[in-house]
């Protein structure tokens, strides 16, 4: 089975949590504006159109752990694929959200 299927499943888990804006903080981090394709260095990964709002009720860490658990074993080189962007799981510090 392709690794990517698993990555997509992981991504899907993130997408199904609701609508809005979600933020993953990373230690070095990049700021991705997916729609505008603008990338500037920051301390976060911004996923426009992706919400962690409903995930907040369960605690973000569960979501992060869930994603990492899914990808940890099956995606090589500690990579997590988020909306096509490769993020190193070791760079993720925590996850937060913004309402809009």
């Amino acid at each position: 089975m392709s690794n990517l299927v698993t990555r997509r499943q992981a991504l899907k888990r993130m997408l199904v949590v609701g609508a809005g804006v979600g933020v993953i903080y990373t230690s070095s981090g990049y700021l991705f504006s997916l729609k505008g394709n603008k990338r500037t260095r920051g301390n976060q990964v911004l996923l426009l159109g992706v919400s962690m709002r409903s995930a907040a009720a369960d605690g973000y860490s569960n979501i992060v752990n869930d994603i990492i658990d899914v990808n940890f074993e099956l995606v090589p080189f500690d990579q997590i694929l988020v909306n096509g962007y490769f993020i190193n799981k070791n760079e993720i510090k925590n996850i937060s959200h913004e309402n809009n």
Binding site: S2, L4, S28, F32, R41, Q79, F86
Partner: protein
């Protein structure tokens, strides 16, 4: 001596030492080396001195499953010099692991180790005016940007690219080489019950026929044509030459090459690394090379991948919805499956016309983004094969029908190398990658706008056992005493690297074998 079709004498038969069919990179390099060994040669070119539609038309055929990026007609040339007439000149060696059996790659392994080819690679480098040390030690080159985590490789570009110009004088002056233009292989006359060749008959486009007798016969017509010509020797009640075990024409491979991800620089900027790794590195003799980065063998073994290499290259923007729909429609049209075209794809094309036009422009000038571009080995799969269609060319031979598709292993290998590249970019703190959306949407296929290397190989594969191949380790057809095949069609696996340098190394090795064993 070179004889145009109109200059053929009235003789209807010739006797020589070695008859070579095909005057491309393989045939010309072999002929010149045999001349040095005092062996007489007749070199047959099916085409003419210049491009000619009547000759090129023999290359038309049908491709099923996945289209070849340039089709059967456009991905090779059929006139003096063969496909060196469109060759860029890139030379590199196969990796030593390409020659070994890798348990996770079915049908992998050459009959000999890379060490067997080293001296012939050296000779090929001299022939092409290349410095072999640059090819073998690219990390020592000045201005070579290393990419930590990958093995550095290069393609060194020879200036001796157009063989018809480079070696024309040598062939014209030669007293032991006769070159016939317009000499199309038509019939291979076999000896009794074996696959040994008694003689071959060639025909010109204006109907002249000549029979050639030799001590040895060499087919050197390319990765597709070698198989087609042999398949055409099948007669009622008799299998085609070299096809006792149904291996002839099978295991076709090419190099899948395409951009697959966009490089995202830190702070939105790309460092000098990406600029330098896209530049040609000049050498003192005016030659140049370009770097490739190969995923280390230890990782290939660990993750069970094919041999993969990458480059960072200026490429067009990734395909959007309109372009993806356009590619889907193009594929269906080429297969005449009109009823499978979806209204959604037509709508996408209509509403994204300007984007599609821009994409075509970007593609033609390779501009738009710095992309991760891959060039990978293909699994030697038995079902990727050349057969014959019912239609005949003007020489009277049945045309090519090629079935070409990808396995999960190619896509798996691609997934691994992309993730690994992302990790290496992150570790070096110079960026990360954004995967092209088409690859996210379709987790099994390779990019739709794939460009192949036009490096056709594998269809007359080399093997230690006649049950698993067409030729032995000396390139002699099993069950034949005097028929040899030369070219990338004998490659059991194709590695990631362009094949011409290895083809020429095999030419010199074959010349030596012929001298030692037959003359």
């Amino acid at each position: 001596m070179i004889l145009n079709e109109s200059e053929w004498s009235d003789k209807t038969s010739y006797l020589t030492d070695v008859v070579i069919v095909g005057a491309g990179a393989a045939g010309i390099s072999l002929a010149l080396e045999l001349e040095r060994k005092k062996i007489n040669v007749i070199l047959l070119e099916g085409g003419k001195d210049l491009f000619d539609e009547e000759s090129q038309d023999c290359y038309r055929g049908k491709v099923t499953a996945r289209d070849l990026p340039y089709g059967l007609y456009n991905s090779r040339l059929r006139f003096f010099g063969g496909s060196t007439n469109c060759w860029a000149g890139g030379c590199g060696e196969l990796d030593k692991e390409d020659f070994i059996y890798r348990p996770w790659i079915k049908n992998s392994g050459w009959p000999f180790a890379k060490t067997e080819l080293i001296s012939w690679y050296n000779k090929a480098a001299v022939f092409l005016g290349l410095d072999i040390d640059r090819i073998r030690n690219p990390e020592k080159l000045k201005n070579m940007p290393p990419f930590h985590g990958f093995n550095t490789r290069i393609l060194e570009f020879t200036k001796k690219v157009r063989f018809k110009h480079e070696f024309r004088q040598d062939l014209e002056k030669s007293k032991s080489i006769k070159v016939f233009f317009g000499a199309n292989l038509h019939t291979v006359n076999r000896m009794s019950d074996t696959d040994s060749v008694e003689s071959i008959q060639v025909v010109s486009f204006n109907g002249k026929k000549v029979v050639l007798f030799g001590n040895a016969y060499i087919l050197a017509c390319g990765g597709i044509e070698n198989a087609r010509l042999l398949l055409n020797t099948e007669k009622k009640g008799r299998k085609a030459i070299g096809n006792a075990f149904d291996n002839l024409g099978r295991f076709f491979s090419d190099h899948p090459i395409a951009p697959c991800a966009t490089v995202i620089g830190v702070s939105g900027k790309l460092t000098d690394f990406f600029l330098n790794s896209r530049k040609f590195i000049e050498n003192k003799k005016g030659g140049r090379s370009t770097p490739f980065y190969r995923m280390p063998y230890e990782l290939q073994k660990k993750y069970k991948t094919l041999n993969v290499s990458i480059q960072f290259a200026t490429q067009e923007e990734e395909l959007g919805a309109g372009e993806i729909s356009a590619w889907k429609i193009k594929r269906l049209l080429s297969k005449s499956e009109y009823s499978s075209i979806k209204a959604k794809d037509i709508k996408n094309v209509v509403f994204n016309l300007s984007s599609i036009v821009n994409s075509i422009y970007d593609r033609s000038v390779n501009s738009g983004r710095v992309a991760l571009r891959f060039q990978i080995e293909q699994l030697p799969a038995k079902n990727n094969r050349i057969t014959l269609s019912g239609e005949r060319d003007s020489v009277g031979l049945r045309r090519t029908k090629l079935h070409w598709e990808f396995s999960e292993l190619e896509r798996h290998s691609l997934n691994v190398v992309i993730a690994y590249t992302a990790k290496c970019l992150q570790s070096a703190n110079i960026g990360t990658l954004k995967l092209d959306s088409q690859l996210i949407d379709d987790p099994l296929d390779l990019p739709m706008d794939l460009r192949g290397g036009q490096h056709h190989s594998g269809t007359t594969r080399m093997s230690l056992a006649r049950e698993t191949g067409v030729v032995d380790e000396n390139l002699k057809v099993f069950d034949s005493e005097n028929l040899y095949i030369l070219g990338s069609s004998v490659f059991p696996t194709n590695g990631w690297v362009n094949p011409t340098f290895t083809i020429i190394a095999l030419s010199f090795r074959l010349a030596n074998h012929l001298k030692v064993t037959r003359f």
